[in-house]
Every structure is written in structure tokens, then in C-alpha cells.
């Protein structure tokens, strides 16, 4: 009997090891590539632990290095800035507008509430490819092409419904009695929401903020079609260009890829608890 328990334990550890390897190996290879010298990376047979670890690639991409990379470097920095500005503005706007709407849809009773909820859910399913040409026409008529504003507005259109949807499910879970108690004390509905309900749904708020940021940060399709100059190109666009235009420089692409992945990956790691609750709330419960 004892033997079989041991065997099961060994099996679990072995499988867990395989899982870790499967999940981590591809990304670790990307990180290792970004820390390697070109000569080491292009040898066969390939060495899995690079003999020389270097941060030169990071220096080159962030501060401009030799002639061949300085162009890439300046592009990268401006894309990094654009990505941050756009993601932060979109997140802030979507949270502000979305929380109010979510409160209305979760806690208030008015005509048109159900159709509004349905709209919020269904518009999330519209494929971006079905919107891109009309948006293109609208943005060029409004002279917003090649401009951070156009991306901010467009991102808002898919981040906002998501924020509403997920915040609504959080707010709906808060017992009505809490709000009623505040109302008896003479609070208006909005005030009860802002001072009582919102503070206790802080974990939902945290999850929603992170989701909104990651969604905007990772977006590629709209960015690809709405940005053509440094003024508005975001990181995903510039990294994709690294992998195609600059003679497929895999070290620079890896370096850029690692940097671009850091904000969402670190956020996800540090706020894991919130993200898990957000995933289960938004995706399954609805």
C-alpha cells in the first residue's frame, strides 16, 4: 500500500516537472536569446546555456547602440512611450465610464436595462475585421489618422464593454442589504455606491484594471492598421517590424519581445489572486 502512494507521489512530481518545462521553456528561450551574443546564438550544435551573458542588446534597443541598431532603438523607445500612454489613458477612461455603467446595469432597475446588457455582451463578439474599414473612413474624415487619439477611441470600444461586463458581475454579487443600510442613513444612491459599494469591491476593481491594461497593451490588429508613423506606433507593431523588416534580426526581436511582455507578465504575476477571481467572474458566471 505504501509503495503505491510513493509511486503516485513520484508520478505527480514528474508530471508537474513536465508541465513546468512545457510552460516555461519557450519563454525562457526567448529571454536567453535576448541575453546572448549573436555568435553564440548562431552556432550549431546550439548551446542551451549561453556561454556569454550580455545586456548589450537591451542597451542597444533602449539607448541606441551601433549604427545598425540605432534606428531600431529610437523606434522602440517611442513605441514604448506610445504603448504606455495609450494603455494608461484607455484603462483610466474605460474604468471611469465602465464602473458607472456597470453600477447602473447591476443595481438599478430601469427600462432598457436588459437590452443594454445584451448589447454590452454582444458587441464584444464583433470581430475587429468587420469594423476596420468603416473605422478607417471615420478616422480619416475626423483627421485622426496616425494619431494616438484614434487608437484610444478604438480601444475604448472593446475595453469598455469588457469593463462593464466584468464589473457588473462583481457588483451584482454584493448583497443589497449593505447598500440599503447606507440609504437608511440618508445617502443618495450614487453616494452609497461611491462610498460604500465601490470600496468593498476593490478586488474586482483591481482585476478589471489589470485586464483593461493588458488588453490595450497587447492589442495588435487595430494598431497595425491605424498607425504608420512613430507618432502613434505601439510596441506590438514595432516588434513585428523588427521580425520582418530589419532582416529578421532575431536577437533584437527577442529583446523587444521580452521588454514588451514584461508589463503584462509582471502585472499578472503580482496580482494573480485578483486575476483568477476576475477570470472566473467574467468568463463563467457571466
Amino acid at each position: 500500500m505504501k509503495r503505491s502512494i510513493n509511486f503516485k507521489q513520484v508520478l505527480v512530481y514528474f508530471l508537474a516537472f513536465l508541465i513546468v518545462l512545457y510552460v516555461m521553456a519557450p519563454y525562457c528561450w526567448l529571454v536567453l536569446s535576448s541575453l546572448s551574443t549573436k555568435a553564440d546564438l548562431l552556432t550549431t550544435p546550439l548551446k542551451w546555456i549561453p556561454p556569454h551573458i550580455t545586456f548589450d542588446n537591451y542597451k542597444a534597443i533602449l539607448f541606441g547602440g551601433n549604427d545598425s541598431t540605432s534606428d531600431a532603438g529610437s523606434q522602440f523607445i517611442s513605441a514604448l512611450k506610445n504603448s504606455f500612454i495609450i494603455s494608461i489613458v484607455v484603462t483610466a477612461l474605460a474604468l471611469f465610464l465602465g464602473i458607472l455603467a456597470a453600477y447602473a446595469l447591476a443595481r438599478l432597475n430601469f427600462r432598457g436595462r436588459k437590452p443594454a446588457i445584451l448589447t454590452v455582451l454582444l458587441v464584444q463578439m464583433i470581430p475587429p475585421i468587420a469594423l476596420i474599414v468603416p473605422l478607417y473612413i471615420i478616422m480619416s474624415k475626423a483627421s485622426l489618422m496616425n494619431n494616438k487619439y484614434s487608437l484610444i477611441i478604438i480601444y475604448l470600444s472593446f475595453v469598455l464593454p469588457f469593463v462593464i461586463w466584468i464589473m457588473k458581475s462583481y457588483l451584482a454579487n454584493i448583497p443589497a442589504e449593505i447598500e440599503e443600510a447606507a440609504r437608511i442613513d440618508g445617502c443618495s444612491k450614487l453616494r452609497a455606491f461611491l462610498t460604500i459599494i465601490l470600496p468593498i469591491s476593490l478586488s474586482g476593481l483591481a482585476a478589471t484594471t489589470i485586464f483593461a491594461f493588458i488588453m490595450s497593451w497587447n492589442e495588435f490588429f487595430y494598431a497595425l492598421n491605424f498607425t504608420t508613423t512613430l507618432a502613434s506606433k505601439t510596441l506590438p507593431v514595432v516588434i513585428t517590424e523588427f521580425s520582418s523588416k530589419h532582416g529578421a534580426d532575431y536577437i533584437m526581436t527577442s529583446t523587444g519581445g521580452v521588454i514588451a511582455s514584461l508589463p503584462p507578465v509582471l502585472l499578472a504575476f503580482f496580482f494573480q489572486r485578483y486575476i483568477l477571481s476576475g477570470l472566473t467572474n467574467g468568463a463563467v458566471k457571466g
Binding site: A16, I19, V23, P26, W29, L30, L42, T44, P45, L97, A101, A104, L105, L108, N109, F110, K114, A116, L118, T119, L121, V123, M125, I126, P127, I129, A130, L131, I132, V133, P134, L135, I138, I153, L156, S157, F158, I164, K189, L190, I214, F221, N225, P236, I239, T240, S243, S244, Y250, S254, G257, S261, P264, A268, F269, L279, T280, A283, V284, G286
Partner: protein
Amino acid sequence: MTQKVLKRITNAMDSDKKLGYLLIFPSLLVILGVMLYPFLYSLNMSFSKMDFANRTMNYIGLDNYIRMFKDSYFINSLRLTGYFTIVTVIAEISLGIAIALVLNQKFKFRGFVRGIMILPWALPSVVNAIMWKWIYNPNYGALNALLTQMHIIGEYRDWLGEPSSALHAMIFANVWKETPYVVLLVLAALSNISGDLYESAKIDGANAWQAFWKVTLPIVKPVIVVLAIMKSIWAIQTFELPYILTGGGPGGGTELLSFYIYKATFKFLDFGMGASMAYMITLVTFVLSLLYIKFLSKDGEIV
């Protein structure tokens, strides 16, 4: 006087109806303006012949739709997308359940192993695509190095140079990124199963395999159905992988629908057919969404 006005505003703010409309108005404005209006606009486009230079649109009825079904490239991408979607969703869900079952066992570092599941989920799809493009590289790629060093293949191969292996390389890259999401949701569902259920199954003489089918699966089934629908919606819209990893090639072998529509629209400037094809995707995702809504609202009020 001011007090009276303020009071009236406060009263208005306290009526569910007025406050409700006030609060959803800004969001609805954005959603209607930036999504619904373009959405209807492109419906119009799908029934028109569009001249971008002269800004004219002529109504031509179902022509674009008829042309679309006669387009062999479209049929090809439809077939590929169907295959891609079915294979990735089945692989993600079965692999996801398997990993979740392992991570549901008690072992040291379990928290850490569960923790790293978030990595592929958080990774930008663009980074996922360039990462796999580098791993699959025909001359210096890690996959070639690994397989030759393990003596599984004799010489380096061009994984993305042949339609079938390119498509499956793309499927693998997508499964890698999307599976952890399944793991996390299935784990959450598994944590709701009490140990008592397994105990009583054991007493009834069930082995581990039977316990999985009779106890575990029925409880995680709702999550799996929801995941299958959502994952299908996302898989159908996959764009980054064909765009970055393969460019749709070789020979159109990885030209998924989103990518082909993108090409038809921006390369061939066939806006009408681009729109009608986009509406095909939309139709499929809407049918899936309705299933999703129906499924969600079955147990409890959702909408």
C-alpha cells in the same frame, strides 16, 4: 433657489430610471459610435461596390456574397479556419483538463506551478508569434537543435516551409498560449468539489478512472462548455499567428480567415467582398455567442 435646484437634481439622481440612463449614457455613446455604427456601415459595404478613391458606393445586392463563395481562396481559408478551430479547441481543453488534474494534487511548489500558468495568458500574442517564429527557425531554431540533439531528426528542417507542418506548428503555438487559461478555470471549478464525493465514489468501488468520469467531469462540465464556446470564438478570429509566423503561406496553407480578409481588404482593396467575408465570421461568432448566453442564463439570472 439654488437649494431647490440641487434638491431636484438629487431627487432625479435617486430615481432608478433617471440615474440609470445618466450613468449608461456615456458608455453607450462610445459603444454605439465606435462599434455599432461601423458595424452597420460595413453591412452596407457588403452589399455594395465601393470605390475608395472617388468615395462612391453602389448597391449591388448579394454580388459580393456570391463572389465570395466562388472564391477558391476564401473556401480554402474557411476550411483551414474550421480545422484550426476544432483542433486547437479540442487540444486546449483536453490538455487543460489533464494539467488541471495534476495541479489539483497536493505537492510541494504547487503554488509556484499554478502561478506560472498565468505567463502564456499574459504574453502579448505578437510576442507569442515572434517567439515561436524564432523557435521554428530553419537554420538556428531551438526546435531543430533540440530534436537533432535528441536524435529524433537527422538534419534541420524548415517547419514553416511546408503547408501541413506550418499549419500544425501554428496550432501548437496557439495551444501553448491558450491552454493555461483552461487550466486556471478548470482548477477553479475543481476546487468546488468536496473530497467527500470522491470518498463515497471510492466506497462504491469506483477506480480513479471511473471517479473522473462520474464525479469530476459532470462538475466541471459547465465550465468546459463555456470555455469551448469562448475559445472557438477567439480561435476563429486568430490573426497574429498567420500574419507574423507564416504570412499565410506556404501556398496559402496557413491562410486563416481573418488574415485572408485582411489581405482581400488592404492588399487587393476589395472592400465589398472583405466586408461580406467579415460578416461570415460575425455570423458564426454570433451563433456561438447566443449559445453562450443561452447556456449562461440557464442557471440563474444573467441578463
